[in-house]
Symmetry: C2
Subunit: 569 residues, 2 copies
Amino acid sequence: MDNNGGAVVTSKIALLQVNPIVGDIGGNASLISELANQASQAGASLAVTTELAISGYPPRDLLLQADFIDTCHTTANNLESAIPILVGTPVPPLDDRSLPGNGVVRAGDSVREVTRKQLLPTYDVFDEARYFEADERPGIARTIAGLDIGVTICEDAWQHCGATPNDYDSDPIAQIVEWGRQGVVLDATVNLSASPYHANKSGIRVAVARCAAASLNHPFLLANQVGGNDDLLFDGRSVIAWPNGTAVVAPAWKEGILIADLSSPEGCVWIGDGEITILGSDEDVEHEEDDLLDAIIIGLSDYCRKSGISKIVLGLSGGIDSALAACVASAAVGPANVTGISMPSRHSSQHSIDDARATADALGIEFSLQPITELHTAADSALAELLENGDPVAGENLQARLRGLIVMAHANANGAMAIATGNKSELGQGYCTLYGDMAGGYAPLGDLYKMEVYALAREFNKRVATDAVNESTLTKPPSAELAPDQKDEDSLPPYPILDEILRLHIEGGLDATEITQKGHDSETVREVLTRLSRNEHKRWQMPPAPRVSMRAFGQGWRQPLAARHDWRQ
Amino acid sequence: MDNNGGAVVTSKIALLQVNPIVGDIGGNASLISELANQASQAGASLAVTTELAISGYPPRDLLLQADFIDTCHTTANNLESAIPILVGTPVPPLDDRSLPGNGVVRAGDSVREVTRKQLLPTYDVFDEARYFEADERPGIARTIAGLDIGVTICEDAWQHCGATPNDYDSDPIAQIVEWGRQGVVLDATVNLSASPYHANKSGIRVAVARCAAASLNHPFLLANQVGGNDDLLFDGRSVIAWPNGTAVVAPAWKEGILIADLSSPEGCVWIGDGEITILGSDEDVEHEEDDLLDAIIIGLSDYCRKSGISKIVLGLSGGIDSALAACVASAAVGPANVTGISMPSRHSSQHSIDDARATADALGIEFSLQPITELHTAADSALAELLENGDPVAGENLQARLRGLIVMAHANANGAMAIATGNKSELGQGYCTLYGDMAGGYAPLGDLYKMEVYALAREFNKRVATDAVNESTLTKPPSAELAPDQKDEDSLPPYPILDEILRLHIEGGLDATEITQKGHDSETVREVLTRLSRNEHKRWQMPPAPRVSMRAFGQGWRQPLAARHDWRQ
């Protein structure tokens, strides 16, 4: 079946690790064409994009609009390129009672559809059954640029090595293996992916690629999207795996081209910043502890760039969360475009102002001191009766909301985006104020547990700017400073304990009994889980936060709201 | 196959039209048992609940917790009842690599599973492929209370008459018809539903039931959930349809029991408030124009009751939106539990205070006058430089946010819930202020177009409280009053035009060209659609709003956020 003789092994395939903008069909098309032409100049004879590269992933409900699908499809078919490209694009429904497909077309060559995705992930942050019809036919591109290759799309490859949360009815890798048994000799199988980041996931992705290559008995090439889109992050790290387990991994968080030499890992080339990693068959991906900081920065910087936002403003309380948020903002849009506002109240300590100023000075961002004392007095007087006779939480929230008001006034006056500085631990406990510290267009730390915030602050100091988060901020007891001498630990368990309970429940799926069996105090566990379920109304209105964990609040988190029953009790 | 002889036709089936609370497994179980016992006393020999009645619909991500599934399943199996009940409940996965089922078990009889749902809606507000494994086996309860009946679950019945947006591979009604051909004689087929409300949908539900009954050649009985859960509303209106097209429809918005006499529409009985409607074979459901008002009130009242909220507070601007929101709140939780706050600023007209007071007086709710003038002056002075040199929108939003702050202080001090008063037209255009008028735990009017707000205000005056919305409020030009002499029409098209453009796009799926072809000005259409796509960040953070349209902002609306490209341009 292979009629290309010796030419086959010298053909090089370029994996385009692109950072598309969702909905920017024209811009994404230009980006793909440009990279494909670069790949051609570097000797590649075929280019492969990531999944839905023309629309960007995830296009969400844009996919419900027929003209969006058509525009994507036509644009993909007509892409200009010096070499053929396998382009990921939505493709129209096969009939008027079906959904569109998540497909691959050949551009710059004979224009025709190659395949549609078979396995449609519909869990966690994925909603593909909402948008796409599952195909049942395996994909193959016969004789393209002198190669015969199998073509799969993201999830299609994950069933084969048991890496999906539940089983699908079919296994597209096994289908291609079966072709091989029937005499269809392929040179390689490619996989167009938009596989989102979460901490330490890249090892799984390499394992999936190795598993596929071993079964297929030919190289398996996975092109993965890079960059942030809304609350989803993609780390790139495109992979080439050989049947013997050797693998080449492209850099994380960088756009570029991975040119695959099918016959030699050493012959593979990365065009772009950073460099490839070659893994021997018994080598694992290194544990990427410090990856989180890159993830958070990319999330915010891409959100800003893709939304046309150039300036960021945030409240700087002198605490660890806002200090790290300022670090991330200054790395994301440049220190000259960030304003930190210190807004002390009558309950604030002097160290709160000093530490906030120290962070601003170390980063070189604009620092504004805007005491809320007078505004607070005016509000106290206007609301005197309420505040005297009502729940004291009203007075505490009032301060947080006056600060939110000031930050938003800065944002609106200057065309900047406010960012919310809350972390996952406090969001999970409702220990935050709606329209106060939760105000903002983005919550860069919203999927980081509190202890991760500390770790990233130290990491930022180490890598980027020494003392951006000073020792005082790193070591003083966390306090919201909304009441005299208030400390977080008056209301919440110590953060190392709180974080572990939340993580066991949210990411580990353990219930109260199981968490208690891990050695936690049963009353503490009960209180933490009850607060989690009772504060869903706050998360319903939280800003988007970049997802770095297995389970983030946001689009992949769909808890019922009204009925805040703790059914475990 | 029918070995029950003449006894069959005298057996009565009770459809339990329940209003469950999501997550309240014990409470829902008690409710079902109680209604089943009432049904037994009224002569029914079998009871049928709605879909997932034990968990309430939609349980959302509670379904990802294995112990939640188990607790529901065990509770459903062990329900106490004088008669057998077919109970809708989540059922455990068939193996450890599968998802749970959306199932039906027999309780109070031989305990065993009857069926699992085959067609899993995954569009609009539905995410069932996220949670459930689709079954491929038709459901039947053989000889239960002397009857042999087919058992289907909601969507299972909708494919048959083409009422789903896209086709499924199988048709559970046709499967039961096929049994009939093969000699399996059934007395009836039941359908356990949680079919959400949208305006004028009940006609479709009756058509589905008639279509199924005609094909099955026996009565088709659909038990539908009633009440609000989060942003979803269920109108009840359970249906019994006979093969000749005769149908009996239960009341809307009421909990109760519809006892079906299979041999006679006139023998059917409703236990509860309201009464049944008998439709002859050529009679359609009447157009329910005034249904919307009930829907909005039920949404808010159930949200409050199920969340343990007894008091509501809102800003009363003297405009039409807040006036109707006050009406809805007073109907939902009682006027004694509602506080309306008039918060005039320097830009407010005297009629704004007068009209707000008139509404409060007519409804008998508490009225509080809380001018923001002093607070506004204090904020102006604190933010003088920003407000003088920055975008004027900062000053406009400041007022809205000071009001949000005051309303939230009332809410927090008194344990009340603030409601946001915005409508779908302004939310769709971003003509609203995050953390200002958008602040609140619920947005009762968030899925009503502006002209629907006017219509419902007149309807409320007519049905409930004359002059609750006075003539001045109904007729003055809408204004946000955030700048001198500001009118909504300075920034937006006239509302009748805006509403129609939005409706054609959002619900009709028409693009700019198609809307222009309907006779709208192309520049206006372009501006409206651009504002819609550019203001997604506000909807991402809006409070839940009861869904009354074909397509509401909220859980069923998943637009990309960061990339606010208007790809139509």
